[in-house]
């Protein structure tokens, strides 16, 4: 029989039992919609986690000096001074996979304001540091490159420092002068509160000043830097960026091929990978629960098709008596179940998109609907229609015309 006639026939028979068709379809609709919504929620949280991990600086690269080895006694990490400020310049100009870079000098200091004092860490950095770490200024402003050139006595402080020196986290100390190592330093801005990091460290217990201020006024002006913080242009190319930096530094430090590196390059992509894995597991879990509801919907199709075959045994007998072949009957019932799952799948896609959108809008959950999730759930629902429609259709096609005609 021609495909157009088969479709017409399927439409007619489905249209005859509207409520039954709708209820059968509902199983597929809910299944497809929940697969799409779950994948959208999963993908949304995946990207959300990725973004928040990225704000910790997942595509950041840290370069530390190597380990000293004096007469066989190894001194631990960063126990030597091998990285110079000119290395920073070299990486910035010659490494294509690096977009931001800042030298970092770090020192434990005692900050004093009036009768209060507080032991904290001062960082000497360039402006790129703020971009790499995604730091923002809550009040006041950041320092400029001319501040850096002039080694200006200015600083930005974290809220923990404000709390301990001024007694109140919420007061505005911009313009006040604090003393660090007896040097008066003007507060020009407050960093936005960041809270604890993944490892429980208070990220607000910090003072940040221009690199040259710290280097020249507090670190006795050596040409060496404590470490370098850089960021790669993309997370995927972090490995290549590390290789690029390594070979550049080896060349600059004039290391022979047999020498070990006199520096260490580290990335945080491991953290990102762990979070990625967790989120992937969650997505698979959610999607498989939704997939099970799609499967149940498929069983609903099979159930209804079996009822339909029994109910229409006489019709099958008539069709066979006047010349329908087994495969004509098979196709007739297959097309019916495929039409149910096909239309159910289409409605389910729309409903899934709407449901995801509602979750995103009212649940405040990040939602990302991917084309692949739509294609996946649609193909799955069509396959379910085929699979669960096959058995009842086969049963109908195997009927003997006389027995089918005599069926009451």
């Amino acid at each position: 029989m021609r495909i157009l006639n088969l479709l017409k026939l399927a439409y007619r028979s489905l249209n005859r039992n509207k409520l039954r068709t709708f209820l059968t379809m509902l199983g597929i609709i809910i299944g497809v919609a929940s697969v799409i919504a779950m994948l959208a929620i999963g993908e949304g949280s995946n990207q959300n986690i990725k973004a928040s991990v990225a704000s910790l600086g997942t595509n950041s690269i840290m370069i530390f000096p190597g380990t000293a080895n004096q007469g066989g006694v190894r001194q631990g990490a960063s126990s030597t001074q091998t990285i110079k400020l000119e290395d920073v310049g070299a990486i910035a100009t010659r490494c294509d996979l690096i977009n931001h870079i800042s030298p970092v000098d770090q020192k434990r200091v005692q900050a004093v304001y009036g009768s209060q004092n507080w032991s904290t860490t001062i960082l000497g950095v360039k402006n790129d540091y703020f971009i790499i770490r995604s730091l923002t200024i809550a009040k006041g402003s950041s320092f400029t490159t001319s501040d850096d050139r002039a080694a200006a006595k200015v600083c930005l402080v974290g809220v923990t420092v404000v709390l301990n020196l001024f007694g109140d986290e919420n007061m505005n100390p911009v313009g006040q002068i604090i003393r660090i190592h007896s040097i008066p330093v003007k507060i020009i801005g407050i960093l936005t509160k960041m809270g604890q990091n993944t490892f429980g460290q208070d990220q607000d217990d910090i003072i940040i000043s221009p690199f040259s201020t710290v280097q020249k006024r507090m670190m006795s002006s050596t040409p060496y830097v404590n470490s370098i913080l850089a960021s790669g242009i993309s997370e995927d190319q972090i490995g290549d960026a590390v290789d690029e930096i390594t070979s550049l530094l080896r060349e600059n430090h004039k290391l022979a091929p047999s020498d070990d590196n006199d520096f260490t390059v580290r990335t945080q992509s491991d953290i990102s990978n762990i979070f990625g894995t967790i989120s992937k597991v969650m997505t698979i879990l959610l999607a498989s629960i939704a997939g099970i509801s799609l499967l149940v919907g498929g069983i609903g199709i099979m159930n209804i098709m079996l009822v339909s075959v029994t109910e229409r045994t006489r019709e099958i007998g008539i069709r066979m008596a006047i010349g329908a072949k087994g495969r004509d009957v098979l196709m007739q019932f297959m097309i019916e179940s495929i039409v149910i799952s096909f239309i159910g799948g289409l409605i389910g896609i729309l409903l899934g998109i709407v449901a995801s959108w509602l979750v995103g809008k009212f649940g405040g959950w990040p939602i990302v609907i991917t084309l692949s999730s739509i294609i996946l759930s649609f193909v799955f629902s069509a396959a379910i229609g085929l699979f669960f429609g096959w058995y009842p259709a086969r049963k109908a096609a195997a009927l003997n015309p006389i027995d089918a005609l005599r069926y009451e």
């Binding site: 029989m1 006639n5 008539i318 010349g323």
Partner: protein, 251 residues
Amino acid sequence: MENLISVKDLTKTYRTGDVDVHALNSVSLNINKGEFVAISGASGSGKSTFMNILGCLDTPTSGSYSMDGLDVPGRNKNELAELRNSKFGFVFQSFYLLPRTSARENVELPMLYNKKVLSNEMEEKALNALKSVGLADRAGSMPNQLSGGQQQRVAIARALVNDPVIIMADEPTGNLDSRTSYEIMEIFQKLNDNGITIVMVTHEPDIAQFAKSNILFKDGKIIANNPVKERKNATEELKKIAEPAEEKPAS
């Protein structure tokens, strides 16, 4: 006259439990083109089984059967379906129209399974077939809107639409009153006059009188095969019924 159906030593055995039931016991018969055969017999005599085998709805246990020059036994289900579609027209006692499907669409049904008919000719052919049984104006009616006689005429139109060589009618008047039965017989006789072979099962002796020959079944065997001596003409019989009915109020 040209031979259409040739059956030799046809046997059909059903197995129910441990007992073999011989529904047909070595039946041989020839039917020529243009015949109008009425088969009668008590229930269980094997006449329906014989009809089903002739109509390729059932297969014999043994024996040979050739139809329009084609050997039937040994053919697979699909080939039998094709034979039924192209050579036979079926008319049943309970009409067997598809419910909630218009008369025209019921008549189109056999053409859906016939590759030789194009989609765009179906409607015209169906309407012509309905016209030939006098139902041109009821093409859009559903079976439940039609009387028994009209339903049977739709079924006949459906049987005719693929231009069959033979019509198999299984008690076509069993569910109809005598007047409507005669109307159906009138159609059958006209079709037969136009060259279509008809094989009809009936247990009503007066209906059998409209055929050209009568076959009697008993215990799975043909015990009599006689030409009808005083063949009735349905058109005249209908007139006879109509006349007394008009005179009744006067008497």
